[in-house]
Structures are given as structure tokens and as C-alpha cells.
């Protein structure tokens, strides 16, 4: 009889129930979309932020010390401390190697240009194709880390050892054009290079010459050496644990250490990099790393707020619709009380009707929300959003409480409903 009454009520009050279901569909679809985007947005936002370049720099520990203590990035005690080029590919072997998106070794130096003045050079992997020991193929290099560079001419290729790129300021001051030849000399090493491209970085690099790492090593007579490594990694925004670990990983308890080590905090990734790069000290580039965290946190907050607001909106709308429905049926519900139904039995009847409607709307809304999430993923990030199973649980809990909270005014009305008032038409 209970279900019979419910089913007949649902059919008879279908227009109101459809409105309730529609409200739930809107709320749940929005919540589902926002939560799926929120949970999947971390990597996507991070990938978007990769245009800002590397977020980790690895240097020799002594060079890093000079930089930390005296703010020196060049000169004696800095430029004569090097990392090993054959360690660079080991970056992909760390626990969070999959999160290392791009990296490039850098060898800084100064050489004599056209026998007239000193110029800073920067040797690197412009583009690098490598096969790792695991068999994984890798394409990386500075080009992936300098996506904002405005280049006239062409980027250097992997084996362009006879070519260089010059910074825009250097090119402008010395009337260098693409295709020109320049002579670079350091000690007994001298070589003529062809300018393949001129880049505009917007920073110090505009006064430098960029060449392949092997060319720079030959010129500087530093075979197999690199000054630093720039790394672009997908990271998780720092929390208290990450900040504590950044101070000193040894201060963590074994459980905390495991949690920290197995989470892609920038400090954890730096720690793991140091484990594979001999004499290396990995440091986050704070502006980039913090921007990523800030943007990600704000994006997440925005989506949480949208989810909360949509839930509140749904609860209010459901509340109005259910209350209207119950008031319309007050005579019938009052009759049930007169026939001997307890308050809780009437409340259960109404709640069951609303929950069935809500559940139906919730299922439709969930799948609609997945569709919305994909539209957002395609429109904003150009890729699909991965569906998080935990969203089903979260949305179910939200749906339950939104429906329950939305039903409170109607239930309160039911509790105070006196059969005598509705049955005698007073």
C-alpha cells in the first residue's frame, strides 16, 4: 500500500515531480561537472601553466650555495661547479618521473665574439630525442620550456652544432641577421657559426647566444658538463606537510614521509631529483611553482563555490516545490493522520516520493554532468576530463542532504498539520 500510494502520487503529481526532478538534474549536473573538472583540472591547469617554463632548477650544490648565500649566479665559485650531462636523463627514472614533462641541461659561459667583445653563451638541448633504458622514447629540450619565445628564423635542431640563435638585444646592437656568420672564440677554441634564428625572451637571455650543448662544451672545453638543469614538472600545490618537508624531510615521521614522498609536491620531486643527480641541488622556481598552486587553489575554490551555490539553489527550489505539493495535498495527508497514520509515517511517505524523484533526477543529472565536464574539458583545456568515481559518492551524499534539507519546511508543515483543520475545511 505504501509503494502503491507513492507510485500513484508520483503519477498524479507528475508536473510537480518533474519540476523537482528538473531542479535536481540542474543541481546534480552542475555539481558533477564542477567536481569532475575540479578533480581533473590539476594536471590540466599545470599543463597550461607550463608555458611559464621550468618550475624546478637543478644546480651543483656548491653553485647553489653561492647563489643562496651571496646571490651570485656567475663568477668564480659558481661557474666552475658543474653537473654531469650523463645524469640528466635519469630525471625520468625517479618515482615521479612521469610528472617530469620537459627538461633541458644548460651550460653557461662567456666567449669572445668576432674577436671584439665578450658575450654570454648558453649551451643546451634545443630539442632532444632520447630512448631511455626502459625503452621509453622521449622528446624534450629547451624549445618546450621556452614556448613564449618569439623567434624569427628557426629554432636549432638537435644536431645543429654549426648554428646558433642570438638574443634580440644582442642581434639588434650588433646588426646580426638570420643567416649571418659569427665567430666565437674561447681560449684556443674557435669556431664560425651561422645564425639560424633570433629570439625575443623578454629577459636576460636576449643578450645571449644559444647553441647546442655539445658546441658549448667544445668551446668551453667542458665535455660532459652542464651548469644547471631546468625542469618542468606537474606538481601538487603545497600544504603544511609539504612545507614542513621542504624545511627538512628528516623532521617527518615515517608515515608523513611516505605520504609526502608519494605525493607530487614540488619539494618531494626536488628531493627525488637530488637522489639521481650527482652533487645536484634541486630548487623550485618559486614564482612559477607558487603561481601554479595559487591558480589551482583558486580554480578549485571557484568550483567548490559553484557546487555549493548550486546545491543551495537546488535545496531552495526543491523546498518550495515540495512545500507547495504538500500544501496542495494537505487534505489527503490530514485524512491519513485521521485514519491513524503517525507523523513519521506521513513524513516517510513524502520523503520517499521526493527521494525517488530526486534519485531519478540525480541519475539523469549525473550523466548530463559528465557531458558538461567533457564540454568544459574540450572548450577550456582541449582534452577530455577523466571521470572520477568518487564524484558518484560525493554527488549522492550532496543529493541526499539537499533533498532532505529541501524537505524540512514541508516536513515541519506536516508535523503541525491538524486533521481537524483540513478535514472540516477550516
Amino acid at each position: 500500500m505504501f509503494w502503491h500510494i507513492i507510485m500513484k502520487t508520483l503519477i498524479r503529481q507528475r508536473s510537480k515531480m518533474l519540476m523537482i526532478a528538473f531542479t535536481v538534474i540542474l543541481g546534480v549536473s552542475l555539481s558533477t561537472a564542477m567536481m569532475n573538472v575540479m578533480l581533473g583540472v590539476g594536471d590540466k591547469v599545470n599543463r597550461e601553466l607550463k608555458v611559464y617554463g621550468a618550475n624546478i632548477t637543478v644546480r651543483h650544490k656548491d653553485a647553489a650555495l653561492m647563489s643562496d648565500l651571496y646571490g651570485l649566479n656567475e663568477g668564480l665559485g659558481v661557474n666552475d661547479k658543474f653537473l654531469h650531462e650523463d645524469d640528466v636523463l635519469k630525471l625520468k627514472s625517479i618515482f615521479w618521473g612521469f610528472n617530469i614533462l620537459d627538461f633541458a641541461p644548460i651550460l653557461d659561459g662567456r666567449v669572445l665574439m668576432n674577436s671584439s667583445f665578450d658575450v654570454a653563451i648558453m649551451g643546451t638541448w634545443p630539442m632532444k630525442h632520447a630512448v631511455l633504458s626502459t625503452g621509453e622514447e622521449l622528446n624534450t629540450g629547451l624549445k618546450s620550456l621556452r614556448t613564449w619565445w618569439d623567434v624569427s628564423g628557426e629554432w636549432l635542431n638537435e644536431n645543429d652544432d654549426d648554428y646558433v640563435m642570438t638574443g634580440s638585444i644582442l642581434a639588434s646592437e650588433n646588426h646580426i641577421h638570420v643567416g649571418d656568420k659569427i665567430t666565437l672564440k674561447n681560449g684556443g677554441h674557435e669556431k664560425i657559426f651561422t645564425v639560424k634564428g633570433i629570439f625575443n625572451d623578454g629577459g636576460n637571455a636576449d643578450s645571449k647566444i644559444l647553441m647546442t650543448l655539445s658546441s658549448a662544451q667544445a668551446l668551453m672545453n667542458l665535455h660532459g658538463k652542464v651548469s644547471s638543469i631546468e625542469v618542468s614538472a606537474l606538481t601538487t600545490p603545497d600544504n603544511d606537510l609539504a612545507r614542513k618537508a621542504a624545511q627538512d624531510p628528516r623532521s617527518l615521521s615515517p608515515e608523513e614521509y611516505e605520504t609526502w614522498y608519494c605525493t607530487a609536491y614540488v619539494s618531494a620531486i626536488c628531493h627525488q631529483i637530488q637522489e639521481v643527480i650527482r652533487d645536484g641541488v634541486a630548487k623550485p622556481v618559486r614564482q612559477v611553482a607558487e603561481s601554479e598552486g595559487t591558480i589551482l587553489n583558486k580554480t578549485t575554490l571557484l568550483m567548490v563555490l559553484i557546487t555549493i551555490l548550486s546545491s543551495i539553489g537546488s535545496a531552495l527550489a526543491i523546498s518550495n516545490l515540495i512545500t507547495a505539493s504538500v500544501i496542495e495535498r494537505s487534505q489527503e495527508l490530514g485524512l491519513l493522520k485521521a485514519l491513524g497514520a503517525y507523523n513519521w509515517q506521513i513524513a516517510l511517505l513524502v520523503l520517499a516520493e521526493v527521494m525517488i524523484t530526486g534519485l531519478t533526477g540525480g541519475i539523469i543529472g549525473y550523466f548530463l554532468g559528465i557531458g558538461f565536464a567533457q564540454v568544459i574539458g574540450q572548450t577550456v583545456f582541449g582534452s577530455y576530463i577523466e571521470i572520477a568515481k568518487m564524484v558518484i559518492l560525493i554527488v549522492s551524499v550532496i543529493l541526499f542532504f539537499v533533498t532532505l534539507i529541501g524537505s524540512i519546511p514541508a516536513i515541519r508543515y506536516l508535523m503541525t498539520l491538524k486533521p481537524t483543520e483540513v478535514l472540516h475545511g477550516k
Partner: protein, 238 residues
């Protein structure tokens, strides 16, 4: 000698400055048929609400089947009403989307357990066996009131309470309903009916007249009470 099923002792009901019932004393034996009459505002409905456990008196006590219901809470009153009272309404109050038999079964559901055969038997007793699967909208007023009576009787209540049960019926259906009451009375059911209709009031065994919340007359109609004539009302009307 019949036992007392209901006793009102100095029952008053006060709404603000209005005294809807004032020091009512009433005693009803099991198997009695009472009619309560009086002009509008005399306190008839208030009285039946209190007897029907849908309201409580401001002062005084109401003893129903040996239990003082005047101090019971809402949940207990619901239980007592469910177990001891059968209600009949002027406007029938059938659930529009349930058939006649389902309307009867609703009362069973909230009392114990729905039993369709019992519900059909109850409808059969009021002459509606062939209309059991009709919706209220497909029944005449008299038929709807008979469904209401079947619903009130399905749980074998100790008192059948009617609030203007013939108020919305034509003369013919009024006669049919009164005949049913008469038969129920013969079976020993206690009947208390509030009515404006003197003809319906006159066929009861006892007539209580209310005015301004007070009992101004308590008339024993046993002498003129027709126990055997099933067409009593119709004969009176003629």
C-alpha cells in the same frame, strides 16, 4: 446492562476568549446511537473532535473505553483513534486516485495490514461490492459516503463517529446511509452522529442538543426509536 464506552466530565474547550464547550457532561453506553444537534457554533464539531481523539479539552476529562484521553499526547491519541474510532465525514474525504477498495485498505494499512478480501467484504456490507474498483469520481455522493462508512468500519472500531454524514446527500441516499447506521446499531456498534438534519437526528436512540457550548437537552428517543423498520427515515419523510 450496557457498559459505559464514553464519559465526558466537565469538558470545556476554550479558544482565547471563546468557550466552544462549557462544562459538558455526557455518558454513552456501548451500543448506543446518539445524535448531537445544535445550531452552527454550538460546539458540535469541537465535541466530536475531542471524542474522536483529534483534539484535547482545555479542562475536564474524557474517558474512552476506560482510558482518560484528555491528557494523552498526539502519538497516543493517534493510536487510540486508529484502534477505537471510525470516522465518517460530510465531504467523504476519499483519496481521489485510489479505488473504493483501496480507500478502505488505506485504513487497514495504518491499523495493521491491508487485506483486500476483508475490504471487499466491508464494501459488500454497504452494498458496493460491484463498485469496488471504481475511483471516487466514478461514484455518486451516496456511494462515496458508503465507501467512507466501509472505511470507518474496516478496523472494527468501538465508536463510529459521523460529522454530518448525510449533509451532502440527497433524500434517497440519506435513507440508505441511515439504514446502514440502523443495521450497524443492531449489530451493537456505538454510533455518535453530529447533524443539522432533524430527521436524521430524530432516528437516533438519543438526541443531545447543544447551544453555546452547553448541553441544553438530552432526549431519550427509545420510545419512538424504530428498531425493525429499515425504511424508517423514508417513512418519516412521507
Amino acid at each position: 446492562m450496557s457498559s459505559k464506552i464514553l464519559e465526558l466530565n466537565k469538558v470545556s474547550k476554550i479558544y482565547g476568549n471563546l468557550k466552544a464547550l462549557a462544562d459538558i457532561n455526557l455518558s454513552v453506553n456501548a451500543g448506543d446511537w446518539l445524535s448531537i444537534m445544535g445550531p452552527s457554533g454550538s460546539g458540535k464539531t469541537t465535541m466530536i473532535n475531542i471524542i474522536g481523539c483529534m483534539d484535547t479539552p482545555s479542562t475536564g476529562s474524557v474517558i474512552l473505553d476506560g482510558v482518560d484521553i484528555s491528557k494523552e499526547n498526539a502519538a497516543n491519541l493517534t493510536r487510540i483513534r486508529r484502534d477505537k474510532i471510525g470516522l465518517i465525514f460530510q465531504q467523504f474525504h476519499l483519496i481521489s486516485y485510489l479505488t473504493a477498495v483501496e480507500n478502505v485498505m488505506v485504513a487497514q494499512y495504518y491499523h495493521s495490514m491491508p487485506d483486500e478480501s476483508e475490504a471487499l467484504e466491508a464494501l459488500s456490507k454497504v452494498g458496493l461490492a460491484d463498485r469496488a474498483n471504481h475511483l471516487p469520481a466514478q461514484l455518486s455522493g451516496g456511494e462515496q459516503q458508503r465507501v467512507c462508512i466501509a472505511r470507518a468500519l474496516i478496523n472494527s472500531p468501538q465508536i463510529l463517529l459521523g460529522d454530518e454524514p448525510t449533509g451532502n446527500l440527497d433524500e434517497e441516499n440519506e435513507g440508505i446511509v441511515v439504514d446502514i447506521f440502523r443495521r450497524l446499531h443492531d449489530e451493537g456498534v456505538t454510533i455518535i452522529i453530529v447533524t443539522h438534519d432533524p430527521e436524521v437526528g430524530d432516528v437516533a436512540q438519543r438526541k443531545i442538543i447543544l447551544e453555546h457550548g452547553r448541553v441544553i437537552d438530552d432526549i431519550d428517543q427509545s420510545a419512538t426509536f424504530c428498531k425493525t423498520d429499515g425504511q424508517a427515515l423514508k417513512l418519516k419523510a412521507k
